[in-house]
């Protein structure tokens, strides 16, 4: 608890009678974002989630399938019925990029990720993820909330619900979207679902006021604002005095203090002009095509440094070309999106390491699904939920690990398949949340992120 009722009443001039009642009943103001102790040993304090919206082709990035060259133009055999989302499937299409082994672990990485390739020994790569739906909407929901159906709280909401946040002057769960657009489904992707509104993701914007409605009216000076707040508190006081036992009223009064402080803290937290040139260079800030994502990655580090619990960055937005959704021109599409994010991601890892934060920050990288080894529209790839790659790095993660494998086409998870529930259980576990016990009662059920499923992916734990 950040502040006691005594302090609060002292600050805000609550009545003496109020104090007596409050002490009598042991009541505390409720701050839903107050930090809560992990229920199991925590390996990380914060999560940075990188969501490559549109779906990354694993075959062209983290999961080499050199035999596809041999089989180019042929159909897959023995894999059962191949369902494509856009219809009109083609034959097998080899990757236009080559792979090389890197690091001590010797993990093969595509030439699309030259900078991240230097960090293969820092990441745990899961090559056998699978999801339920090959359509963006449901798949985004599953990756963000566990279920393909809308209406459930997102991972970020569950994590802040479980742990609160370390910084009360900033939202506990922050979301960055791409300058070309947000992911489809929109804000329900970072919704608190049925959890209280305190746990919803807050979108940070790159222009104007970083948070909607953060800035006071342009013509109101800070002094005027203080005068305004003082008058508000004075007028609230009498009402509160009539209801001395009502902590909700004093919490609301206090929320204005918080909001006021957020006005100065939020802009500072994302102000990367305060970073050194060396740091900015790490992220590729100021250089195309890395500038935009690089800024976001750097802001994410600053936020995590300030105690924000969960930061999610969406790379890619809108439909088709501006996102990772390479239904055609795979080369152009993934060429661009990888170039935009490769250096900043490597920079983020380097920067976190140099600040001693890498071991307490969990980075999770994924799309909503992978892409098919066969062609679509001549030189693109359609959606593939049956097998794809994700990686994790940082707090509690065993670097240089590869878990599972897809079949020889890269079509379906074949060895040691991992469900999205398992990924979510692992994130919660690393954060010190017992994924089976963190529940919220709603419509007569004790809901949890992983429903009745899940299992921690122990292979990647350090």
């Amino acid at each position: 608890m950040l502040w006691s009722r005594r302090e609060l009443l002292g600050r805000l001039g609550g009545g003496v009678a109020g104090l007596a009642f409050a002490d009598l009943l042991g009541q505390q103001p409720r701050n839903p974002l107050a930090p809560k102790a992990p229920t199991i040993p925590a390996r990380a304090k914060a999560v940075i989630s990188i969501f490559c919206y549109g779906g990354v082709s694993h075959i062209d990035t983290w999961d080499p399938k050199p035999d596809l060259v041999k089989w180019q133009g042929e159909t897959m055999q023995g894999v059962g019925e191949v369902r494509t989302v856009m219809g009109n499937p083609g034959g097998l299409m080899p990757s236009p990029w080559t792979f090389r082994k890197h690091g001590q672990s010797g993990i093969a990485v595509s030439e699309l990720f030259p900078h991240m390739a230097e960090h293969v020994d820092d990441i745990a790569l899961i090559r056998s993820m699978y999801g339920v739906s090959p359509a963006h909407g449901p798949a985004l929901f599953q990756m963000n909330t566990g279920t393909i159906l809308a209406g459930s709280p997102s991972v970020g909401s569950w994590v802040t619900y479980g742990l609160g946040s370390e910084n009360q002057n900033l939202p506990g769960f922050i979301v960055f979207t791409d300058h070309r657009g947000g992911p489809i489904n929109g804000p329900p992707n970072w919704s608190n679902g049925y959890l209280p509104a305190a746990y919803q993701g807050t979108q940070i914007r790159d222009t104007g006021s970083p948070i909607v409605d953060l800035k006071p009216p342009a013509d109101r000076t800070e002094d005027e604002q203080r005068r305004w707040l003082r008058m508000l508190h004075e007028m609230n006081e009498k009402y509160g005095d009539n209801h001395p036992l009502d902590t909700e009223l004093s919490t609301r009064v206090y929320s204005y203090e918080l909001a006021f402080r957020m006005q100065t803290h939020a802009p500072e937290a994302i102000d990367i002009s305060r970073e050194s040139d060396a740091t900015k260079n790490l992220y590729g800030v100021g250089v195309e095509p890395t500038d935009y994502f690089g800024r976001q990655a750097l802001m994410a580090r600053r936020l995590v440094e300030r105690g924000v619990r969960y930061v999610q960055i969406f790379s890619g937005g809108g439909n088709f070309e501006p996102s990772w959704d390479a239904h055609w021109d795979l080369k152009g599409n993934h060429g661009l999106h990888c170039a935009e994010t490769d250096k900043p991601l490597a920079g983020l890892i380097k920067d976190l390491k140099s600040r001693g934060m890498f071991d307490e920050t969990l980075i999770v990288w994924h799309g909503e699904f992978g892409r098919l080894p066969i062609s679509e529209r001549m030189d693109g790839r359609d959606h593939n939920n049956k097998g794809f790659s994700v990686w994790l790095a940082g707090g509690g993660v065993k670097g240089g690990t590869v878990v599972g494998a897809t079949d020889h086409y890269g079509y379906a998870a074949a060895e040691n398949p991992k469900s999205i529930y398992e990924l979510h259980a692992t994130i919660q576990h690393l954060m010190g949340i017992d994924y089976e016990k963190s529940t919220y009662r709603f419509n007569g059920r004790d809901m949890r992120l992983t429903d009745v499923h899940g299992r921690v992916i122990r292979e990647i734990l350090a």
Binding site: L24, Q27, L33, G73, E74, T75, Q77, G78, E81, V82, M86, N88, P89, G91, S133, G137, P138, L149, A150, G151, P171, T177, H179, R180, G181, P183, I184, N185, P187, P188, G193, A198, Q200, T207, D213, W228, M231, L232, E234, M235, N236, K238, Y239, G240, N242, H243, L245, E248, L249, R252, V253, S255, Y256, L258, A259, G317, R377, M378, N443, G444
Partner: protein, 857 residues
């Protein structure tokens, strides 16, 4: 298994196929080794397994336990036996096998019925499997094991209800308990007070005294209408010392058209009302508002709750000729669209219906018997079978002959359009070909090779790639690699003119198409005898059990509920009508209790059962079971009149108590479960917005009509996909309407509503969260809409109270809080106003942020 082993067979089958397909004779006969079976690396065993997987997925729902047409594809025995139409498979001869002809849509039988044709790969698998012998003998599941399993499973389908379970409070019919006699002055005339006071006395609690009149009128306005009283209304009530002043006020509010708006909004939370479909495309539903207006009207006209239930669930079966009843079935069209499959959509209907009307989480029994409540999984599927046959109907809100005339007019134009479109394609064709040839030359060699290989010589992969290339280079391809303007560029002048002329003719005709008829989103069925619905083990369509008949919640009903048979000429099964009739029949233990508890919940801040949609074990027990029973019985006895129940509750002494705390009571019952005082309740998102506009004097009180789009910061949505929100500026009076008229778009939420805990428009919500968070303060301090209204409020105060700061404070406080300002407020407020050039505006802004403004007293 190597292809060689099947070499001979494949020659035979190749010939057989060729004979039927005629045109392919030369190829097939000349190159038998290229027979499909020879090329496919799958063994016969694998083919059998793959075929069986297809049957399980796409066929077994009907040709399984249900044995439609006498055919059972679960077992080798059933397969070989065939069905009423004869043998299903003829070994090695796909073209003579009924199964293959049916899935190929070759002949009279087209399978699967009411679903898309199977994908090409499946058709091929079935063909090859028949060529390889057409037997399931190598599939263990099909060899008896499955039958035994299913028998075993079927035994597990039933879960009897014990007598003890039936005796749980929620499942016993409510009885009219004796009203306790109490002696406190004023507390003996309304039965509610008798029950409450009796319970308080037993716990050593004393009800707090009555609220003052200003508190009362503000409370009842915000509660019943969701709007604040005007100063004149406050003063009139304060001055009215007649004995029935309160009663008359209550009746006046219940007769207000704004009562219906307020209570419709509560209902909209339960039914997860939205004006769009959600998910990827989040398609707008511009007609959905008619259902919202139906709700407003139903509350305003005091539609009996039993009829209200029946119309929403089965309006089409009760009064198909009534637009109102058809619009009511929009209840079944509110779910999100675009995620999950049909079973998920039906699950959403089952869950929402049972939560809303029964206060039970039947949705929990989809995969297994409910873990805590006596809800057998069988109940789920029997209830599911009530909703499974439903289908969307766009109900035209015009007479039938107008619908026919509209259809004829449309068809007439379509007939004229057809040859014009063909002509346009003919003109374009040669130029399209030029572009195609150019693009082909750019492709990788293996694709060019595929393209140039004669169609009959292409491998399967080449065939797919060629088809893909053709599609990609077509004019309608999503990729837009080849566009109409590219072709036009290549056309000589004369051709260009001819092309333009045809296009113009098409456009003219398109414009002549009649405008869409006004419709309502409604529900119907395909006929009186729906497809069978099956019990699904573990909720999986791959493990169907018995076919089920419609049923009700077995713990809440002894024996079988008799569903009515649809009369001759009925277009639906009447299952929903039967279910609705069960819900509102006198012995139903839940329906009336659940609804009176909801009414109570909104008046008193919390329900008698504090988990209003969970009357089961996962919910809370009622704090006053006898009162709840009494109210439920009274509700039914008063003809399910909601207004009668409102009146009863509002005229109780309990409702008129103050909301002050007393430490003695607090020590015994800190959560006020015994209702020893009235709670302060933070206003809902919509009420805050309405209150702001009412206070500033801008609120437009027009009732009903299409939803409107107030301004939303484009940064919050514009960049996402192809969805949009054309928000009107805050200064546009069209946006100054009550909040329930704001378009509810599932992927673009109105930020103020979301932040102040409006539900997520996806789940049925029985009780809103009431959070207190900093972003709420940010909105009330800095949001443009709020600031605009603050400006209007200040103008109003200046116009009505003049330039004197003390008068301004007096008037502003009166407008915002419905009470005179006290001496200290007058003094400090006047100082504040005088202290800055924008003092009045800032003071007005403070009033919108006060706790007193934001809470119902």
């Amino acid at each position: 298994m190597s292809p060689r082993k099947f070499g001979r067979r494949s020659i035979v089958s190749g010939v057989a196929v060729a004979l039927v397909w005629g045109a392919a004779v030369a190829l097939r006969a000349g190159a038998p080794q290229e027979s499909a079976l020879g090329q496919d690396p799958r063994s016969a065993d694998q083919l059998a397994k793959d075929a069986y997987d297809i049957f399980k997925k796409s066929c077994i729902e009907c040709h399984g336990p249900a044995k439609e047409g006498g055919l059972d594809l679960r077992t080798e025995e059933g397969l070989q036996k065939g069905g009423r139409n004869g043998k299903a498979v003829v070994a090695h001869k796909p073209m003579e096998s009924l199964i293959y002809k049916a899935v190929m849509h070759d002949g009279d039988l087209w399978m699967p019925e009411d679903a898309d044709k199977l994908p090409e790969a499946s058709l091929r698998t079935i063909q090859l499997w028949i060529e390889s012998g057409g037997s399931l003998a190598t599939v263990p599941e099909a060899m008896g094991g499955a039958v035994v399993d299913l028998e075993d499973l079927r035994k597990r389908e039933l879960r009897p209800i014990t007598e003890e379970e039936r005796n749980d409070w929620a499942y016993k019919a409510p009885v009219r308990h004796q009203v306790p006699t109490v002696s406190r002055a004023g507390w003996s005339s309304n039965p509610i007070d008798g029950f409450l006071l009796d319970a308080m006395t037993k716990k050593g609690l004393t009800p707090v005294g009555p609220a003052d009149r200003r508190t009362l009128i503000r409370r009842v306005y915000l509660d019943v209408l969701g709007l604040p009283p005007t100063p004149a209304e406050v003063e009139a009530f304060v001055a009215d010392r007649s004995a029935d002043a309160w009663l008359r006020l209550v009746d006046r509010l219940l007769a207000s058209p704004h009562y219906g708006e307020r209570w419709a909004r509560h209902w909209m939370d339960l039914v997860r009302y939205a004006d769009s479909g959600g998910y990827e495309f989040d398609v707008d539903r511009p007609e959905m508002y008619r259902y919202r207006d139906y709700l407003i009207n139903a509350f305003n006209t005091d539609k009996p709750y039993d009829l209200f239930v029946k119309e929403q669930l089965a309006g089409d079966e009760i009064a198909p000729e009534s637009d109102e009843a058809m619009i009511a079935t929009g209840f079944l069209r509110l779910g999100p669209e675009g995620g999950g499959n049909r079973l998920d959509a039906v699950d959403d209907l089952v869950s929402t219906t049972t939560l809303t009307f029964l206060g039970m989480t039947v949705g929990c029994a989809r995969c297994h018997n409910h873990k805590f409540d006596p809800i057998p999984q069988m109940d789920y599927y029997r209830i599911q079978s009530i909703f499974y046959p439903t289908t969307a109907v766009e109900h035209a809100l015009v007479p039938a002959h107008d619908v026919a005339a509209h259809r004829d007019a449309t068809q007439k134009i379509e007939t004229q359009l057809k040859p014009l479109r063909a002509k346009k394609t003919d003109i374009e064709q040669p130029y399209h070909q030029i572009i195609i040839d150019r693009e082909i030359a750019k492709l990788p060699e293996y694709l060019q090779t595929a393209w140039h290989t004669p169609a009959d010589k292409r491998t399967e992969g080449q065939r797919l790639n060629v088809r893909q290339i053709e599609d990609t280079l077509g004019l309608s391809s999503l990729r837009k690699l080849v566009r109409e303007e590219h072709l036009i560029e290549l056309m000589p002048g004369a051709v260009k003119a001819q092309h333009a002329d045809v296009k113009a003719q098409i456009a003219t005709l398109d414009r002549q198409k009649p405008r869409r008829l006004p419709t309502a989103r409604a529900i119907g069925e395909r006929g009186p005898e729906p497809q069978p619905v099956h019990f699904l083990h573990r909720g999986s369509p791959d493990a169907p059990g018995s076919a089920v008949t419609p049923g009700v919640l077995s713990v809440a009903h002894r024996g079988e509920w008799t569903f009515p048979a649809p009369p001759a000429g009925a277009t639906s099964s009447w299952r929903r009508r039967g279910f609705a009739e069960w819900l509102v029949q006198k012995d139903n233990p839940l329906t009336a209790r659940v609804m009176v508890n909801r009414l109570w919940q909104h008046h008193f801040g919390e329900g008698i059962v504090r988990t209003p949609s969970s009357f089961g074990k996962m919910g809370e027990a009622p704090s006053h079971p006898e009162l709840l029973d009494w109210l439920a019985v009274e509700f039914v006895d008063r003809g399910w009149s909601m207004k009668a129940m409102h009146r009863l509750m509002l005229t109780s002494q309990a409702y008129q108590m103050a909301s002050t705390d007393t430490s003695a009571n607090y020590a015994i019952d800190p959560e006020n479960r015994m209702f020893w005082r009235m709670p302060r309740v933070r206003l809902e998102a919509e009420v805050i917005r309405d209150h702001i506009m009412a206070t500033s004097g801008t609120l437009n009180l027009t009732v009903g009509g299409p939803a409107m789009f107030p301004y939303i910061d484009p940064d919050l949505f514009e960049k996402s996909s192809n969805r949009n929100w054309d928000g009107l500026p805050d200064s546009d009076p069209a946006t100054w309407r009550r909040s329930l008229y704001v378009f509810s778009k599932r992927s673009i939420r109105y930020p103020m509503f979301e932040t102040f805990d409006q539900p997520n428009l996806i789940n049925s919500i029985d009780r809103r969260n009431r959070t207190t968070i900093a972003p709420q303060a940010l909105i009330l301090m800095n949001n443009q809409m709020v600031l605009f209204q603050v400006g209007r409020f200040a103008e109003r105060v200046r116009a009505e109270a003049g330039a004197d700061p003390t008068q301004q404070v007096r008037h502003a406080v009166y407008l915002a809080l419905g009470r005179p300002a006290d001496a200290l407020e007058l003094q400090k407020g006047a100082e504040f106003i005088a202290g800055s050039s924008e003092g009045l505006t800032e003071f007005c802004h403070i009033l919108f942020n006060l706790n007193e403004f934001l809470y119902r007293p």
